[in-house]
Symmetry: C2
Subunit: 340 residues, 2 copies
DNA sequence: TTCAGCATTCAAAGCGCTTTGGAAGTTTCG
DNA sequence: CGAAACTTCCAAAGCGCTTTGAATGCTGAA
C-alpha cells in the first residue's frame, strides 16, 4: 500500500493525501479526517526511503560509539544511548551508530555518513578538552550537538551538566565540615568534564583558604580497582586525607574498600562524596553507607540532547542551544564532620 | 556530485557508471578503472536514500535495545553491539537501534520498522526460552537472526555458543577433581542460555552419579552482590558446597568475597569456575586468583551475527544458518582437588 | 451579471539511483 | 564475405514520496 494506491482508493490526488497526512493547512478538515481514516484502515505507512529521497532528510541521527572502552564508561554510554534512542523513537527519528573501526578512521566514517547523507546530524559525547571532531564536523557541514563541552572559539550547540559547580558544592560541604585534607579521585583530565570538576574542587579550596596539594589529586580510571589502589596509597601516607571526592561511584567503592581494610568507618573517620550518574544498577542511595553524591541522570541527558538536536534541525530560526544543567548535591551518611 | 554529473563528466551513461561502480560484469575493465578514478577524484558518494528507494533495500540492520537493564547485562550488550557495529561498518551497512519505549510497544516498533522499510533485517539477542518476538517478526515477514537460541518448531537462523557443552565440561572438571557438592549460580532460567547451562550442569552430575540437589542451584542476577549473598547462604549451610559454578564473573566476584569473609582460599578450600564473555575490563586471567573459566567472546559473536545476517540477505540461495560455537574451558588457579 | 479573492484540489516535475530491453560495435566461424 | 554470437554501452522507465504552479469551484463585492 503506497501513496498512489491510497489516493486511488480515496479518489484524491497524491498531493492532497500527502498534505492531509502531513498536516498542511491547505486541505479541508473533512478530507483530512477521511484520509486519516483510510490510511489507518489500510495500514498505510509512508516509505522512509522515498521520503528521504524527496526531502533530502534522512530522519536519522548518528551517535559515535566510544573508542575507549572501560567498564563504567561503557555503562555510562549505554545509559546515555538508551535515553537517546527512547527520545528519538518518540519523535519519529532513528539512531544509528557510527564507529571508527580498525579499517576506517573516524574521519572516514564521518565523511561517508555526510556524503551519502545517511544521517541528518550527529551526537558527540565525552568530548576532550580540545576535541578535533568539532572542527571536522563543521568542515563537513554536518549539524551536531555535543554532550558535554569543549574549548572551542566558535559557539556550538551542547548540553552539559555543571561539573564545576557540582564539585565546588561538594568540596565546600567538606570544608564546611572542617575537612582540610581532601583527596580528589578524578578521571583523565584530557576529558573536559574531568577538567571542570578539578576546577570546581580547586575553587572551593581557595574559598576555604586551603592550598592546593597535588599529592591529593589523582587522575585514574573510573573503576573500583583504581579507587582501592589510590585511596590505599593516600591513607597510608604520613598525613592522610580525611575526605575523598570521587568522579564515579565505582571509584567510591574502591575507596570504601581501602578504608575498611584499614578499619576506618565512612562518614565518621573518613568522608566520601562521589558523582552519581543515576545508572540503573549502581545507586548512591543503596551504597553502604548511603553515599553523599552530586547527581544528574545521564539517561535524561541523552533524551534532552536528542530533543535539542531535532529542534535545531527542524526549526531553523531556533537559537543555537547551549544548555547547562545544575547538579544537586544530596547529603547522605557517607559524610560527616572531620574526626579529631 | 551525483551520478548524472559524474557520467556527464565521463561522457558515459548513468547505466554504465552505475554498473562500473557496482562491479557488474558487462563493463570493460578499461572503463571501470576510468570510472573508479573519476569517482574518487570528484569524491562521488552514491546517495543512500536514492539507492534505498531504487533497490528497496535500506542497507540498515536493526538491533533491539534490551528492556531489562542491569549492570552486567548492559556491559554484555555494549560489547555485543560494538561487534555488530564494527562488522556492519566494514560491510557498508548501518546499525540502528530499536527500542520499546514507554509510549510504544515492541510490536509497534517492529511494525513501524517493517512497513516503512527502515531496516532490512533485525538482530535479536538474549532470547527467552519461548520468545514471542520470533513469531512476531516472522508474521511481519522481516528477516532476522537470533543471538542465542530459543524453542521454536520452525527453523530460524541463529548464532549461539554451546552453553550446555561448556557447563558440562566445567562441571565435569569439578567432578573429576573429586567435588560432589557443586553449587550452580545461574541466571534467570527464563533465558535460554541459562537453561542450557543448567542442562549441561545436570548432565555432568548424572555422568558422575551425583543426585541433583536443588538447594545448590540458584537463579539470580549476574551481579557481585547477588553472588555474595547466595554463596554466603550456601557456605553457611550444614553441608556447604566445595565448588561453585557461576554464569558470570560478576557473580564469581561475589563468591570470592563470601569465601574470603569465611577464611576460605579459592582453588584450595573452594573451587570456582565462571563463564567469561571476554569483556574489556572484566578479565578472568586478572582475577585474583586467576579464574578457571569457560570463555567465548561476545564481541566476536556480534561480528559473526552481522556477517551471517548479511549473507542471508544478499545470497538468497544460502542455506539458513544455524551456528553453534564450541566453548573453551581454560583451567587456571581457582580450581583444585576437593579439600578433604 | 462579472470578476476578484479564497479555499480546495490536482497534474506533473523532480529527488538520484537501479535495471530492463535494446542498440551499436566487434569478433567468430561456416 | 555474411550472419551469428558476443561485448560494451545506452535510453528510459521506474522506486514512492514532496512540492511547485495551476486549475477548479465557490463566495461575495462591484
Amino acid at each position: 500500500m503506497n501513496l498512489r494506491d491510497l489516493s486511488a482508493i480515496l479518489n484524491l490526488s497524491q498531493t492532497t493525501v500527502s498534505r492531509a497526512l502531513n498536516g498542511f493547512p491547505e486541505v479541508s478538515e473533512d478530507t483530512r479526517t477521511r484520509v486519516r481514516a483510510a490510511a489507518e484502515l489500510h495500514g498505510y505507512r509512508p516509505s522512509a526511503a522515498a521520503r528521504r529521497l524527496a526531502t533530502g532528510q534522512s530522519g536519522t541521527l548518528g551517535v559515535v560509539f566510544p573508542r575507549e572502552r572501560n567498564m563504567l564508561g561503557d555503562l555510562l554510554f549505554t545509559e546515555f544511548l538508551g535515553g537517546c534512542v527512547e527520545q528519538a523513537s518518540d519523535l519519529g527519528y532513528d539512531i544509528t551508530l557510527a564507529m571508527a573501526s580498525g579499517t576506517q578512521s573516524e574521519e572516514h566514517v564521518y565523511r561517508r555518513a555526510v556524503r551519502s547523507a545517511r544521517v541528518d546530524a550527529m551526537i558527540l559525547s565525552s568530548p576532550l578538552l580540545a576535541d578535533p571532531r568539532l572542527d571536522l564536523l563543521r568542515g563537513l557541514n554536518m549539524p551536531f550537538i555535543v554532550h558535554g563541552r569543549t574549548t572551542s572559539a566558535v559557539p556550538y550547540p551542547y548540553l552539559d551538566i555543571d561539573n564545576e559547580g557540582a564539585f565546588l558544592k561538594a568540596t565546600k560541604l567538606l570544608t564546611d565540615l572542617g575537612h582540610r585534607r581532601i583527596a580528589l579521585l578524578n578521571f583523565d583530565a584530557l576529558y573536559n568534564f574531568a577538567n571542570d570538576r578539578l576546577n570546581g574542587y580547586l575553587h572551593a579550596l581557595t574559598l576555604a583558604g586551603i592550598d592546593r596539594d597535588d599529592g591529593l589529586i589523582s587522575f585514574a580510571p573510573m573503576t573500583e580497582f583504581s579507587g582501592t589502589l589510590e585511596a590505599g596509597r593516600l591513607l597510608d601516607a604520613s598525613s592522610p586525607p580525611t575526605a575523598f571526592l570521587c568522579s564515579s561511584i565505582a571509584q567510591a567503592m574502591g575507596v570504601r574498600r581501602a578504608a575498611r581494610e584499614r578499619g576506618l568507618v565512612l562518614g565518621k573517620d573518613v568522608s566520601l562524596i562521589a558523582h552519581d550518574d543515576r545508572l540503573h544498577e549502581i545507586r548512591a542511595e543503596s551504597f553502604e553507607p548511603p553515599l553523599t553524591a552530586t547527581q544528574s541522570s545521564i539517561g535524561d541527558a541523552g533524551k534532552r540532547v536528542v530533543k535539542l538536536l531535532i529542534t535545531q534541525l527542524t526549526d531553523h530560526e531556533a537559537p543555537m542551544a547551549g544548555e547547562v544543567w545544575p547538579v544537586d548535591l544530596v547529603v547522605r551518611a557517607s559524610t560527616g564532620p572531620v574526626a579529631h
